[in-house]
Structure formats: C-alpha cells, structure tokens
Symmetry: C3
Subunit: 489 residues, 3 copies
C-alpha cells in the first residue's frame, strides 16, 4: 500500500493487514519510546488546512514513534493555498522539500486522490495519506473504528451496528460504510433525519442495511456509532444545522434502553452533546479508547506507505469492451450487394460512426477534435431500403481510427453507436458493450470537487460509468454520483 | 508538584523551590545545549489556543533544553475546540497521543484546573501547566517575575513595588498579587483608573496594599510592574479600552520622577506604549531580562512536573465541620418528656432537618433528591410550647442519613439548620459549624468560566465558602468571588 | 555574511559565494540525510506572520539538513504581534529563547532590517534572514532564481530575460532586479500593464532594460520570469487586481511564440493562471525545479549566517563630505577689513550658519534643539556691501559646533548653507559637498514601513540621499524613494 486515499480502495484483506500491523506496533505506542530515527528517508509532511487535533496529533505522534521526521503545517492561512496555489504545486513543492509522504486534510473533495495521481504523472516518489477531504472520505478513521470493533469483539464479522447523525455530510460515515460493505454477516441500522440521510449510492445493492428515524431502532446493537452535525459544511444560514441539532442524544436513558452490551463509539469531536456529558465515564462509552487506537493504526499506515514507497503506480484507465458484430471484405460486400455496408466504402480507410441520434453528429465531431477537412456528418436518416425510416446521423472519419479512450467517450455519449472500421478493404462493424470509465469529457457538478478548485485537476475530468444505460457517472476524485446529463451538460 | 494551575496554590516554600531549581538549570539555558533526550516519557503537548510568542516559545525551548520531546498546537483554529470539543476530550486525546504534560493557554477561565481534575477522575497520568486561562491566572509568569525580583534584589522580602495598568483584567497581575501575599515586609501600591481597579478579593485582608490613581504614588519604589490594556477581553465597542488607553505611560520624565533605583518590569507584550519606546534601552528598564528569565523557570516547572508525574492527586473536597449539640436516647427523651425531641420519634431511623426557614423545605427536598414516599415536609411553625411561635419548616427523611457533601449543601443553603439523626433509638442533634467547600449545587455566574464553556465541567459545580454567614462563594475553577445568591439563583 | 536583508546589499561576489556554497551542500539535500546535529548553537526561529508554504518549509528543511534545531511560528494570529508588540521586543524575546537566527516574514516593510539593527543596538548575537517583508524584498528567492539560471545556463552573464506581471508590488521582482543590476551582458525586458510598472528607481541608470506592454517583446528570451498578481497588497476594492488579472498568461501558444529555448520561471505560487495549467509538465516550464533549488540555497545562507554569527556589525552612518573654503584668523580678518568675516566675530567661539534661505533659520534652530539663550537668528538680508542685496537668514550658535549627523541634517534641509566655525580666533568657512545619509529627521511616507508600524523603529528615521540637489531620499528600512519634501513635511 503506497497511498491511502479512500475506504473505497480497501479490500477485506487490506483491512486485516493494517489491523494486524497496528497490533504489532501497539507496544511501541504503549512504551512511548520511539523507534530509532530513520535519518535518510526525508520527512512526513503533515498538511492540515482544516482544523484538527486528533488526526493531526496522532499522525504526528505516529511518525515520531516510527522514528520518521515530520513537519506540520496547520491552518489554511499558513499555506499558499489561500493565495490560490493548486494542490499539484503544493504537492510538488513538498516533494522538493524532501517529503516522502504527505498526510493531507483539506476541504477539497478528491484532493488527496488528485495529488497522488499528480505524483505519478510527474514521476515523484511521494505517498499520499488522506486525513480527510471535505465531506468525502477519512479512511484512517475507518481503520481505527474497525480496529476498535475488532479489539472489543475479537472479530470483524457477526455484529450489529447502528450509525447515527449527520450521515449525509459526515466523511467518517462515508468511509466507514464503504468498509462495512466488505464485512460478512453484519447488520447496519442508519438513523438520521430525512434531511441528513446517507446518499443512496453508499448502500447501493446492500441487503443488510435498515434506515430508521429513531434511536429505538438500535436496541440490542453491538455498537452504536454516533456522529457530529457537520456545521461547517452547511449553508451559511445554519438553518439545517439548527433543525437537526440535538435530535439524537445518547444519554443515560438511551443507554439503558439500548441494553448492557451496546458500546458507544464516536469519531470525535462531540459537537453538540450527541453523547451526554454525564455518561462519558460510563464503561459502555468507548470513544476515548477508540481515539487512542488511532496512533497504532497510523503507525501501521506510515510503515506500509514507506515500504510501498517505491511501488510504481500506473495511471491506467479501464478500456471499454467492444464486440465485433460482423466483418466483411469490401469485395464480398459489393458481391453481396449489402447496401448498408456499401455505404461506407467511399471512405477506403477510416471510421464510420453509425446510428447516432439525430443532431449528435456535429457534437461528437467537435468532442473528438476531428479535422474538418477529413470528417463528414451525414444526416441521411437511415437507409431508404428499410421501413419505417429511422432518422439518424452518421460521422465519417477519413484515415482515423478511435483510441480506447475515444471509444469510451463515444460509448457514454451515444451508447447505441455502431462503429465501422474500414481498413485494407475490410469493414469491421462493432458495438460498445461496456464502458467502465471515461476521461476527457464532462464536468463534475460538485462545487467542492478538486476539479472545481484546482486549475490543473480541472484538465483531467475522469468518471466511472454505472447503470445498464450508462446513465450514472461517478467522479473519480470526489466519488460523488451524478446523472450522466448533469456531468455532460 | 505535579500540576501548575494557579498562584493561589503556591506557598512561600514552593516558590523558593522553583526559583532555586531554576537557578541550577540556568547554565543549561546559557549554554544552549540541551540535556540528553528523554526518549521514553512521551511528549509535552503545548496547546496555545490564544496568541502567544513569549510563553509558547519559552515552554518549547525549555522542553528542548530539558531533553523532553514536545509538540506545539497554536491557534484556536487549528484545534477541534472550534468544533465544540470539550477540554476534557481534548485532554484525554492528548493523553492518548502520549502527552505526559499539557501546557495550555485558552480563554476559558478555570480550564486548566478542570483538565487537571478530569485527569484524576479518569485516572490519567497527565500533568497540566496553566500558561494563561482567560483573565484568571498565569502562574509561570508570576514565578519568572519573582525570579527577576530575587535576582536583582538578592531576596524576596523587604521591597516596595507598584503595579500599574489594567489590574482588573490582567491575569499576570492576578497571579502576581496572589504570590505577593505570601511575602514578608513588602509594600504594594496599585495604580489604575477606577474602572480597571483590582477586584476586592485579591487583596482581602492584606494591610500592605495602597490604591492610587497616579504614577506619583510610585516614587521610590524598588519595582514598578506595568501592564498592557487587555483589549481582547473588553466589550466589543472598545469603549473602556479607549478610556484607559495611554493613561499610564512610563517615559523618561516618569523614570526621573521615580528615582534612580526603580526598576521597570512588564510581563510583555507592550500593547499601547505603556513603556515609551525611547527608554527601552535604559538600564532601569529590565523587561527583556525579565522575559528571558522565563526559560529556566519553565525548565524547572517541567522538571518538577515530570518528577511528580506519578503522584496520585486525590479529588477530595473538604468536609464540613459538624458539632453535636446533644445526644439523647429515645427512652430518655420520653422519660424527660422533652417535647421537642419526642417530635422526631415518628421517624425511628433517619434524619430530621429542623429550623429550616419557612418555604425552604420543599426546595431542599428537591436538591437532595429525596424519595417522595419517604420524606415529609412539615410547615408546623415550631413548637407550640414556646412563645413567640417561630415559623419554620422541618424535613423528615426516613431511613436516610446525609453524606458530608449533602451536609455542605444544607449548610450553605440554610446555615442555621439543626440536623437530627435518629439511629438505634438515639437522637443526635447537630449544628453545621463550618462549610469550607460545596459541590453539586449552584452555577458559576462568570460567562468565561469553564463550567459555562464545557458540557462535562458544567456537571461538576464546585465552590469554596467564605464569610461568617457563608455569604460569599468562590468558584473552584475560575477563582472568581460571588454573592451566594448569585450562585444559587 | 551575518544578516540577509536585501538584494540591494548583494555584490557579484557574494552572490557567487552563496551559489557555490549551495552546490556543495546540494548532495545533502539529495541524500535527504541531515548533517550531525549541532547541539549547542541554540535554535533557528522561523517567524512567518504571512502565509507561506514554500519559503517556510524550505528554510525548515534546510535547517534540518544542516543539523540546526529550528522552531516555527506560523500565522500572525499565533504571535503577540497582533497584541501590538513591536518587532524589537519580538526579536529580543526570541534571542532570549536561544534563537541564534531569526528567519522572518511579515507585511512590515523594512522590518527585517530594523530587527537586524536592533540586535546590534542591544548587543545581541542574532542573525536576521529576511524571508519577505511586505512588497519590499525577498532576497533568498532571488538567490534561488539566480541559482536556477546558473544551473541551466552554466553562467550568470550573457542572457536575455523577460520579467512579467505585477512588477510594482512583487517583492520577488524587486529583489531580482537589484541583483540583475550586478550582472554583465544581460538584457532585461519588463512586461506589465502601465498600472503595474516597476517603480523608476529599481532600474535607474540601467541601460540594458526595456519596458513593454505585451508578451511579444519576449520572443527569443533565455528566461521568462512571470509573477502573480499580489492581490493581498491591493486596495480593498480589488479594482486594480481585477484590471490586471489574467492579462499575461503563458500558455501553449505563447510558449510556441517565445521559441524552443525560452525557459519559464515563476517564484510561485501561481495565483490566477499566469502559467496555464496545461503546460505545467512542459519541459520548458521549470518552476518546480526552481522552487526545489531553494533548499540548498537556504542551507547555504544558514551556514554562512552561522559562520558569520560572531561578526560585529557596526551601526555607522556615512558622514557628510565637508569642504573648507577658507580659513582666516580673526586678526587677519580684521586686518584685511573683510566685512563678511568680521560679522561673525561677535561669537568668539561657536558656529555661524550663513546663506540660509529666508525663513528657515528658526526651523533649523528648532531641529538642532538649540539653547534659546545661546542662539540667534539674523534676518539681516545679506551684506549691504554687495549688490543686489540677497535676502537670507543667519543662525549664530555660541559655544556649539555641529556633529557630522547635524551637518547631514543641515545639508539636506539647506544644501547651500555656509558653515562658519569660530575657534581660537580662527574662522573656518565650509560648504557641505555631499550628504550620503541623514538620520534623526523626516518621516517615511510609506504606511507599510516599519517606522510607521513599530513605536521603537519610529524613533530612528534614517534616509539615504540622492540627486544633485539632494532632492530624493530613500528610506533606509523600506527602501522606497521619495521626494525630499514628502519626507520632511
């Protein structure tokens, strides 16, 4: 493991590996005695542009205990980010200042992913650890949460957990639920007001999730994971914050109702008394233990990052699946008097896109950056030989064949397209069957996304494609889901 | 010494001990060469949520010279305190991050005391050093001030000192005066405008304090300790600040007036030219020397904290003094036909509170959390056998005896109460003679007090009781004095 | 080299020395392995009261690699500067905290120079390294810029460089141009809008500078140094910023136009896309390499500061050049019946200032702080023996002779004055021929100047004198140029 960006990248195995490593490192934390200093590795740069005590401090102490020199930059005001500097420059600069790892917290969603990719693009040997990117992800928190569960329960399966609070905006919940998806035989109850409900995609396809409005639904849970209202991510008027604030409070009465085995967790800080102060010393409230588990988890992550530092990360996008429908020689085509195929022969070498919805031909020509002198849009409305006449566009590209990336773009823009390649007198007719990812088109609608904050990242739109009709796109960086139309607008 | 919270905790001996220790450590400071690193003690966490250069920097350097690893968090924005986190969680978290000492500056008055107590409650091995809590205390500053006096004078008695400026809001003055109270044969002149006068309690019972309006009163002083207008603690309109600003300026003319032996001190920073810039290089102005003395003082405090780290601090509240007035057996009572005592016999085992002012019975019943089925308020207006009839309430509690804490509460609420305990056929009649402290009731009226900032601290009201009629209560945390009625309202 | 304050202090030799030293230190940076710790030198205090990532981080890493302990204070809010503390106190305090070097960035122009001088005044062994003082200077940036040029070109002469952007407010440009003045056979093209043009004095007397409005002027340059709009130094309405923003963008088309040998530099951060994100990976864009060169430069500066630490810096102001016109004995004068000389004899011992413009006598008397009982202004209008009668004032000072500093003041106030000293019966008549510097009068008109921010610095006005008629004064601290009348108003 080189980078730690999102719980969406975890596997069951990688989680167990981190937890096991943390256990072996735990005695160092308990002894308070650092390992011998690693003098020739450079520094761990801790960049905390949003407020942090727990995460910043525990990464700092984890680095100290691992014998890794570190340097902390805290507060957005202290950095050139406020002068408009891009994350890419910030990352390259820290690399120049001998940072081998960058632990970063910013309000820019997808920022950590972007910096990690930028490092690969520029060939920099820099590990990126996401310590919170806006409302998106907080993967090291999830690992310490899982570590707390495993230490208490002795296993990572067969338990019932309730998650309560501002689920929509809480990055700790987002990471947590992505990891919980990987565990077997667990039951999840999500408790929130309708306004704070978790976005649909986090639990898509999961059958072990229940949604509820009230704490009563949590009776008998092994764990109740409650969270803070994310005031700082709300609209300025604070309207929603006031509405949900104080709605779910774990106090002595609730604790009693839940039963004697339910352990109360919280990623901290407690903001508005989600856990009543009167029960903080109760043995079922394990929030301080949970926080303290963070040191050895972060030691493990730093150690694994250092070990994987030299790994080459490839920036590869999955290629589309293209199925060849038919392949005929031009001669054969003429011989067979196949009207449809013969239509393409005026282009002896190149590509013809067929079955384009009416009016899309010119748009695609533009998106592909076609040479106007060598590409022609036909609005010919289909073959006259068939009835009823289906109106459609065609696009003929002389001497040009599409790359996998271009096929992905076409496959998202016009899923039903037929791609005809004409080469050496042979016409090959294909359909684009699956498009896992698409880059180079679209615009992420999330204003907090790194692609809307960072001029360099903005040049690299990148989406994952979902749905039978390719109608849902996920931003590769901020991990939000959108309708295709929103992204392509 | 484990914690350093308030100059009010100092003794003459503890002051001398710190000063002596500082002198032995001074050569390390002068050599700039740190002691060998203490690798297995954890870290000194420096939390400065209010602006600081001098105190933060000198604790940081002191830790370095002592070979103690430290980590600095500066600026409230950098911490979760702005997300509403309590000091208790902050303290527990730093402890989890291997902090053995927490040097803290916040605007929360009594915050350091609270964190120290919280550590004891939770069984954490954490030393707390108060580096300034709002307008309350700054004990390490006082120690360096005294160190400066002793180094210049060769002794800590027989001197005359003037203290000038914003005495009401200056924590350095508050700590200083509490320590000066312990010194012999000194004379103190307090110079301020009427608005900025020191609160009465700081000098209560001191006979060596003079109050003045003008710098003329300071002629011939050994030391003049001048202070900054505490603009940041004034109401937002700045009205008072503008009124007192620039009122007392030590310039060349004043220096001449004071005479050749007066040394000018200032806790720094100078805010509005309290010491005119033209005399900063004058040999009688020793403010930079004074500031520099802070390093060895803070080394001494850290060393003593480390040495005392394992000390068990008990959270004990002083018990009330209860005097037994009379003790009679029930039989004897019946035999003596003592009407008053016989009245209590309907409760064969339990407590009867007598001589309660009319109307207070129900309130006390509520405060004590009495079982309604086993407690009865009588409004019977005293014994009919005596004239004139004195109206009063009684409260009979079956099978219940009061704890020392409950006796303190009763003793503050109704000082004249008579407590009758009936046990094994014996009635014991007592008076509460002295109540040093009371916990569990009241609300500190100081909005800056930790009990008004911190949901957890709010659950532990704690006051010291003063005055013949127990009419003045001091908040255990913020150390302010209030009328009993304000606290109990 | 002890202090590093301004590129205006550089010589060609000192630049080469730093660059050579940086090259020898470079392998340490590349190895990431620090030198052995210097345990007895105290600390490098890094004070960054303005936002910084690059400069703060690279000084921090440079100190680490040099084995020098350092401590960082970042953000104005974290320091007592916001409580109104002067830089002098801040500097003295850090010295007391064992800082041997102070690397400082503030918005106060001339602040670093002032702290360096203050250290000398107070006899403190403190090196000051200016890491940016408002819109004035950023000398270590210039050294890394020159290092980048030399590493790319193999030499520091014979090149053509364009400088683009907000030249008026960019401290990196101000420092850079002062250094470029020292290089041979280079050609400089300054490109900006008229509003952002470089102030006249930076290029005064240089014959190798061209001014242009458009990027076309840069075709064929070896280097193009482009800069950020200094939004934070603009008037609050942002008017000017909006006007110049986005005016000069280096994109692919511009790069092509410039030609294949032009290397693009930028001090970073890029604020508004001055370099288009699409070309950041282009091999001619060397901004990240340039930034990374800063580590070894800053290592060199710290090493040289440490080596020169003990150097005694004298605070000497250049004395005025005074030419004796004539010297006559009183007797001889009487014998020669020289009416003009005889006029002065009523003052047997002292000074007579002659040829003062009418009405200036009383002003000078006041400026010199003359004893009213021993100084007399004459409005006698010149000698009657000559025609036409030239009206003038004279000022006779009994028993007083002027110091060099006073002669400088007189020489700036009334350049044509004749100074007659009468001593032992000899009258010596002199003219003030040259006044390099003047202290003790005037007021810097620059509101950002340290003399307008710092009560202590305000007491030491200090100007360099330019122009044949001494009509232009440069502030010794903020290095801005003013008309004499503005300063003396």
């Amino acid at each position: 493991m080189k980078h730690v960006i999102s719980a969406g990248d975890f596997t069951r195995e990688s989680i167990e590996r981190v937890l096991a490593s943390a256990e072996t490192l735990r005695p160092i934390w308990e002894s308070r005695q650092p390992r011998e200093a690693l003098t020739d590795i450079g520094v761990v740069r801790l960049l905390f542009a949003e407020a942090s005590t727990r995460t910043a401090g525990s990464f700092e102490e984890a680095a100290r205990l691992c014998g890794m020199p570190s340097a902390l930059t805290a507060g957005a005001d202290a950095t050139s980010l406020i002068k408009g500097e891009t994350l890419g420059h910030t990352g390259r600069m820290y690399h120049g200042q001998n940072a081998w790892a960058l632990v970063m917290r910013t309000k820019i969603e997808g920022g950590a992913r972007w910096v990690a990719e930028m490092a690969t693009r520029y060939g920099l040997n820099l590990c990126v650890l996401n310590a919170g990117d806006g409302a998106n992800e907080h993967p090291s928190q999830t690992l310490l949460d899982l570590s707390t569960i495993k230490r208490r329960l002795g296993r990572l399966d067969r338990f019932r957990i309730g998650i309560v609070g501002d689920l929509r905006l809480s990055r700790t919940v987002h990471s947590f639920i992505r990891a919980l998806r990987l565990l077997d035989n667990i039951e999840i109850i999500l408790v929130s007001t309708p306004e704070s409900r978790l976005q649909w995609w986090y639990t898509e396809g999961m059958t072990n999730v229940t949604v509820a409005d009230s704490l009563e639904a949590l009776v008998g849970c092994d764990f109740v994971y409650t969270t803070r209202i994310q005031r700082e991510r709300f609209p300025a008027d604070g309207y929603e914050s006031k509405r949900v604030r104080g709605r779910y409070v774990i106090d002595e009465a609730v604790l009693k109702m839940l039963g004697g085995k339910t352990l109360i967790m919280h990623p901290l800080p407690i903001g508005d008394g989600e856990i009543h102060s009167g029960i903080l010393m109760h043995p079922q409230v394990i929030v301080d233990e949970q926080a303290a588990n963070g040191i050895s988890i972060r030691m493990a992550l730093l150690q694994m990052a250092l070990a994987g530092q030299e790994d080459v990360t490839e920036l590869d996008t999955c290629e589309p699946e293209v199925e060849v429908i038919r392949s005929v020689s031009a001669q054969e085509s003429i011989a067979r008097k196949d009207a449809e195929d013969r239509r393409f022969l005026p282009i002896p070498h190149g590509t013809v896109l067929d079955h384009l919805p009416v009016g899309t031909g010119d748009h695609i020509k533009k998106v592909l950056g076609c040479d106007p002198a060598k590409s022609y849009v036909g609005h010919d409305g289909g073959l006259r030989t068939r009835e009823p006449v289906v109106k459609k566009d065609t696009l003929r590209l002389e001497n040009r064949f599409l790359t996998p990336g271009e096929l992905s773009i076409i496959g998202v823009l016009v899923p039903d397209v037929t791609v005809n390649s004409i080469r050496d007198g042979v016409i090959t007719k294909s359909k684009i069957r699956r498009v896992p990812e698409v880059t180079g088109i679209g615009h992420c609608p999330n204003p907090a996304c790194v692609t809307n904050h960072d001029a360099e990242a903005a040049l690299f739109p990148h989406f994952h494609v979902h749905g039978e009709d390719r109608g849902v796109l996920t931003c590769h960086y901020c991990e939000q889901y959108f309708d295709r139309a929103e992204v392509l607008a």
